[in-house]
Symmetry: C2
Subunit: 397 residues, 2 copies
Amino acid sequence: MIPVVDLAFSADFIARLASVLGKPVAPVALHEPEFEGNEWSYVKECIDTRWVSSVGKYVDEFELRLAEFTGAKHAIAVSNGTAALQVALRVAGVGAGDEVFIPALTFVATANAVSHCGGIPHFVDSDPDSFGMCPGALAQHLEAIAEPVAGGYINRLTGRRLGAIVPMHVFGHPAKIEALLAVAERYKLPLVEDAAESLGSKVGGKHTGTFGQTGVLSFNGNKIITTGGGGAILTDDPVLARHIKHLTTTAKLPHRWEFVHDEIAYNYRLPNLNAALGCAQLEQLPGMLSRKRELASAYREAFSGARNFDFVDEPDGCLSNYWLNAIRLKCGDLEQRNALLDAAIGEGYQCRPVWRLLSSLPMYLGCPRADLVVAGELENSLINLPSSPSLAGLLKS
Amino acid sequence: MIPVVDLAFSADFIARLASVLGKPVAPVALHEPEFEGNEWSYVKECIDTRWVSSVGKYVDEFELRLAEFTGAKHAIAVSNGTAALQVALRVAGVGAGDEVFIPALTFVATANAVSHCGGIPHFVDSDPDSFGMCPGALAQHLEAIAEPVAGGYINRLTGRRLGAIVPMHVFGHPAKIEALLAVAERYKLPLVEDAAESLGSKVGGKHTGTFGQTGVLSFNGNKIITTGGGGAILTDDPVLARHIKHLTTTAKLPHRWEFVHDEIAYNYRLPNLNAALGCAQLEQLPGMLSRKRELASAYREAFSGARNFDFVDEPDGCLSNYWLNAIRLKCGDLEQRNALLDAAIGEGYQCRPVWRLLSSLPMYLGCPRADLVVAGELENSLINLPSSPSLAGLLKS
C-alpha cells in the first residue's frame, strides 16, 4: 500500500532543516548531552575520595543548587523521573484504586508512576496551544463525573476516589498551570507537576515544577542536563520534603548502628557519582538555555511562511527551555507525518514524532478517559527537531 | 539503668580487633570501596564520548562480564538491588496479595521488594550455621500451612496464594541453597535468590545467585564491588532474561520512531556511567576476593580461643566472599552486644550489629510468620567487623 503523501512537502521540510543545520555528514542527534564544564573534575573527585554511592557532598549540593535555580524551597534528588513521580504521588496520598488525572499525550512514565502507586490513570485531553493538559477540558470532565463524598471526590461512574492531577509540560513548553491549579483547588485534588522536560521553563517568571504541591524533574541522558540517570522532587513544604527524603532512602531512622525502618519505602537515592555530574551540568545550564533559544530562533525563522507546517513557539507569557523544538503540521495526517520522519531520518536529521497516546497502549486501554480529540490531532501533527544546545554553534551568525 | 555487662568482655574484643587492625588513627570503616584499576579511564571515556545514560557499550559489557564471572547464562544490569528483586519477583508471577517466603533476618529491601510487587512477606526462621533461611524450618512450616489448589498452593490460614521463596546469603556466606531448592520444588514455588551480598561466593563450585529461577546482585557503595548504585538479575532462562530487560527499560517495542510500550513497566536501567565503574570493578574483583580471604584468616586467628565469641566461618562445602566478617557471641545478649558495639565504635572500629528482624518493624508487624527462634537469637549475637579489602594491606605478614 502506497501512502498518499505529498513529496514536495518532504522536500520543503528537508530544505528548511538544512538551512539551519546544514547537510549532515553524520546523523544529527535529537538531543545530545554536552560536558564542557567541571563534569570531569567533580566526577573524578568522587572516585578519588571513594564517595561514589548513596552519601556524599554532591547529593546535598545538587539538591541545594536545584532549589536555588528553580526557586523551590526544597529539592530531593532521586534515581530518575519515574521514581520521583511515584514518590510525589505517594506523598500526595494516592493509593490502591485511586484515579489520577494525567494527559493522554505524555511519556509513558507518567502513567507507569500512577500504576506503581496502585492508582489508575484517567486520561484527559490536551490544550491545542501549550500541548499540556487542557484546563477547560479537565474542568468540564470533572463537572460531569466528580461526585463529592466525605473528604474528597469520587468518580461517579466507577465509584473510585479521585486522587490527584498530574499536568506535564510537553517538550519544555509550560502547560496552562495556573488555570489547572484553579481546577485542582476547586476539587481539593493535590497537583503534582510533571516538569521532567521543563527545567529552565517559567510561567510569569515562576519556574515550572514549583506551582503544584510537588514538581518532578528528570535528568535522563536526553534531557537538557543529565546525571546519566536521575530525577528530583521539588516542594515548598518542609514536612513533605522530609517525608520524601525518608521514603526515598529506605525510611531508616537515624541511629548509630540499629537498622530500624518505619515504613514500606524505596531505594531511590541518586548516587553521589551521578549527583557530581549534575552539579557540573547545572553550572552550564544558563549557557545551554541561551544557546537553545538561539537554535529555536533559527528554526522559527527557517520555518516561517511554510505552507504546511508551523514552528512551535513558547506559549504567551511563558519562557520555554525549548528542550525539544517542534513543528506542527497545519493539517494533521499520520501518513504525511511518517513520510516527513522517513525523509528527515533518511537525510541524517534525527527527528521523532510525539508519543502515541497512552490511552491507546494495550495496558491502559481499559482506563477511564475524557474525550481526547485534541490529543489525537496533536499525535498526528507534531514532529520534534534536533535540539542539542551544541547545534547553536553551527548557525550562521 | 545500667546494663549488666561484662567489661572484660569488651576489653578482650577490642584487643583482638587491635591485633588485626592496629590502633586506629582515624575510624576504620565497615566496608569501603576501592578504585585501583581502570575506574577513572572507563568513566572518563563515558564523559568524553557523551554516552553516560541509558544506552552505551559499558552496560552491555558489564552484563556480559557478570554472566561470565557468575556462570549465569544471562545478566541484566539495573539501578539497584531492590529494583532487581522487585522485577525478579514480578517475572516469577508474584502479584497482589501473594505471600512470599523471606527470612526475618535480612536487609529491609527483601521485604520492600515483595511489597512493591503487591505481595506480602511471610517470615521464615534462620539456619543457625549459615544464617540463611532454614530449609528444615521452611519445610516444616509449609507442611503446616500449605494447602494444594489448582495451579499451586495457598496458605490455609489466610487463603492467600503462595508466590515464591526468597532465600538470602547473609554477609556473603551461602545459605543452604540446595536444600531450600528441594523444598521450593516440592511446593512448585519459584525460588528467587537474594545474592545481593554474595558476589564471589559459591556452593560446591557453583556461584550463588545461579541456583534459583533468578538471582539478584547489588552494587551499592558498601558492597564488594560498587557502581555507585546498581544491581543485576541473573538467570539461565533466555525468555525470562528478555522479559526482564523489557520490563526494566519501560517495555518499549523496538521501532525507528514510534513510542509503543506494551506492559506496565519500569525505568530501572543502570546508566552507562555507572556500568563503566562496574566494568573496572569487576576486573579488580578476584584480587579483592583474595585480600578479603586474607583478612578473614587474620580475624579467624585473632578470635580463636576467645571465651565469649566465635569468628563466623564460611559454611562447609562453600566458598564465601567474606563480604562482612562477623563474630558471634556464644551467649546472645542484646545489652552485651550493644556494649561491645559501643566500645568498638568508641575506639574507632566501625562495627555494626545484624539487622533488626524485619518481622518486628512496624510496617511488617501484621505479616504472617513461622517461629523465629533462631533468627531472634542471631539478632542478639552477631557483630560485623571492618571488612574492606584494603585492610589486608595492614596485616603483619
